[in-house]
Symmetry: C2
Subunit: 396 residues, 2 copies
């Protein structure tokens, strides 16, 4: 049995791996129960995986104080150091990067300005190579010891081919970024659209860790979305990110960055909020977009009516967009994921009520909406999760 669509043993390994990943640790017996595999098979496969250094036995046998008779169960867990990867997120102003192990422990990180002058692929490769060296140093790792590096790029990216149809960061269209980077970097490279990274970050290390189906939405410079169906990131036909932010909520509405009108993004992204603010509060202090936005939020919470009205409207329209998403997908869980404090505002009870008012009601429970506030390295961690995903997929 060398080549077939049906590789039985690999199926078992993947099954056990993902159960362990989701549960943290499990005894062989529990693995058998949860996977439906026989104890005999579990013994065989786990022995194999231990020999590969992928998993290890846990020393303290009973985590809870429970006293049991009989032979004590030996809990197994993933061996974090068996797969250490780097994640790099490219944005207009900065590159953020991170080294992470299989458990999601951050071994090191590095954020660097990135003069956005659109790059050639070759230049980018050189920049990233240098970055990777320095990043590895912060984590006291050798670059060659990394299992791979995941790179999140804004724009239209085909993951399978690592082909960038278009990105705001690159001079040219239709660049086979994967090829160039693979040539210049000493470890396996994976390239994907950045919107998928948040979904992966949640799937590997966040609220989605124990779930197989959920939707992640981020609001930052734009509005991003990631869809996880059946434990897999759904990438659509063209492999481009799900463009939830360019969903139209008002026909012929406000002008969006994309040139179209009425996009959700044109009402709730940071530039959209500041656009409104520029009319009524023309002299908001602050050098950067973030700073001015923080200020806007501050005076809103301090009671400024104009500022409040801006957030109120954004919240209302966002709730509409979210309700549409729910009406279409009927997900169990929606994760609002990001680092910005505005999410705080959006998670108010009124906001959730507004969402509920716009979804079709059934007896069944309304999908849960949670806010997950990450540090500023969320995207980089997502890129790392992406690398883990690809590496483990290959090596299991």
């Amino acid at each position: 049995m060398k080549s077939s669509l049906i590789e039985q043993r690999k199926q078992g390994r993947v099954l056990i791996f993902s159960k362990l990943r989701k549960s943290g640790q499990l005894a062989r017996i529990d693995i058998a129960k949860e996977t439906g595999l026989s104890p005999a098979t579990v013994t065989t496969i786990t022995a194999e995986m231990m020999a590969d250094g992928l998993i290890e036995e846990v020393d303290r046998p009973t985590p809870n104080g429970e006293v049991r008779r009989g032979r004590p169960r030996v809990e197994l867990k993933l061996r974090p150091s068996s797969c250490v990867v780097a994640g790099i997120k490219l944005s207009e102003g900065v590159i953020s990067s991170m080294i992470v192990d299989l458990e999601g422990n951050t071994l090191g990180s590095l954020v660097r300005p990135f003069d956005a002058a659109s790059f050639e692929a070759e230049e980018l490769a050189v920049t990233l190579n240098a970055l990777l060296q320095d990043l590895a140093e912060t984590a006291e790792q050798k670059v060659e010891d990394l299992a791979g590096v995941g790179i999140g790029v804004p724009g239209i990216v085909n993951k399978e081919e690592g082909f960038v149809h278009w990105s705001p960061l690159l001079k040219k269209r239709n660049v086979s970024l994967l090829t160039t980077l693979t040539d210049h970097l000493p470890i396996p490279v994976f390239v994907d659209n950045d919107t998928n990274l948040v979904a992966l970050a949640e799937l590997w290390f966040g609220y989605g860790r124990t779930l197989d189906d959920f939707i992640v939405v981020t609001i930052e410079h734009g509005v991003g979305m990631g869809i996880v169906i059946d434990g897999q990131v759904y990438r659509g036909a063209q492999g481009r990110g799900a463009e939830f932010g360019h969903t139209k909520i008002i026909p012929d509405g406000a002008l969006c960055r994309c040139g179209q009108r009425g996009c959700l993004e044109a009402y709730i992204a940071d530039y959209a909020l500041l656009r409104e603010a520029s009319i009524v509060l023309p002299d908001l202090p602050g050098a950067s977009v973030e700073q001015r936005l923080d200020k806007l939020y501050e005076i809103a919470t301090d009671g400024n009516h104009d500022a409040q009205s801006i957030f109120a409207r954004a919240g209302k329209l966002f709730s509409l967009g979210l309700a549409n998403l729910i009406n279409i997908f009927d997900p169990k869980l929606i994760i609002l994921s990001g680092e910005q404090m505005r999410l705080d505002y959006l998670s108010s009870p009124e906001f959730k009520e507004e969402v509920q008012r716009n979804i079709i009601h059934v007896d069944a429970p309304v999908p849960e909406i949670v806010v997950h506030r990450w540090g500023d390295l969320m995207w980089a961690k997502g890129a790392a999760a992406f690398a883990l995903n690809e590496c483990m997929n290959a090596s299991l």
Copy 2:
């Protein structure tokens, strides 16, 4: 290997079955190539399936005139009579039903008025039992010879349990329809929400036959949608139909049947069009909704400006909704499926242009939008496809 998540042989059978279903007919060699199974395995499995009467060899070996050397390939195909099922679609005014074989050949059909006075489950069971007898007669089949019957019910239905949380057709909420029907009908019963039926109809017998991912949208009394991902109908967390029709396209817009405002359905469903017409064209002739709508369409094509404006607006808003769907899903294909002539109007070049104007553009091709006009038995055929799906799933 009795109980395990990994049933290897079944996988092979399913793989071969679905390849044959999609291709119509294939020689063993091609099956081997397409599935990645070895020729030896294909021989084994197909022999088994032939013994089961599931497939058969095709007499005319080379369908195309192509002359080949070597031992001639023997094409295989599904044996249509190996699985014959009934499909029943329940609506407010009528029950439509159909008997169909594995190839989608219609063996008989029956449409019957259905006095919508909300039913008890028991009464419904009796009604359906009688219907099934008569239906079988039209197809010259014995009811007992049918492999099963699929039933499409409007409302909120959990397919796995056959549990109807709510339906406009039933007096009570929370009815375990599957249990009652199974007790009263002599063959296996399957119950699902009706929106999923169109997706299944397209997947088994329509434009989706050769595809694994697409979206189907219907416009009739309401707006329905079915999502197929990876060859499976996506049912969401609650198992309720995707409520595309209640997606909001205008904040605080027109009042919808569902009590909310601004739903797509409130602008494009038949009642929505007639609502508009009632203002400017109060005396549209016609006894039924369909007739008045046909008339409206007729005078629109004849040049009546008011009527045209009604359809134009519906078209524009529908295009917006469709664009949103595309932005979220990025499907390869969208099928507009139904029996009504308004679809004709909606498939105009201007309509498609309008959709394109509202989706995010990339170099990649825009998803294809096709219109599939079915006869009035589309839903019943979908219900039959549903039964086939379940039966084959069980018996492979």
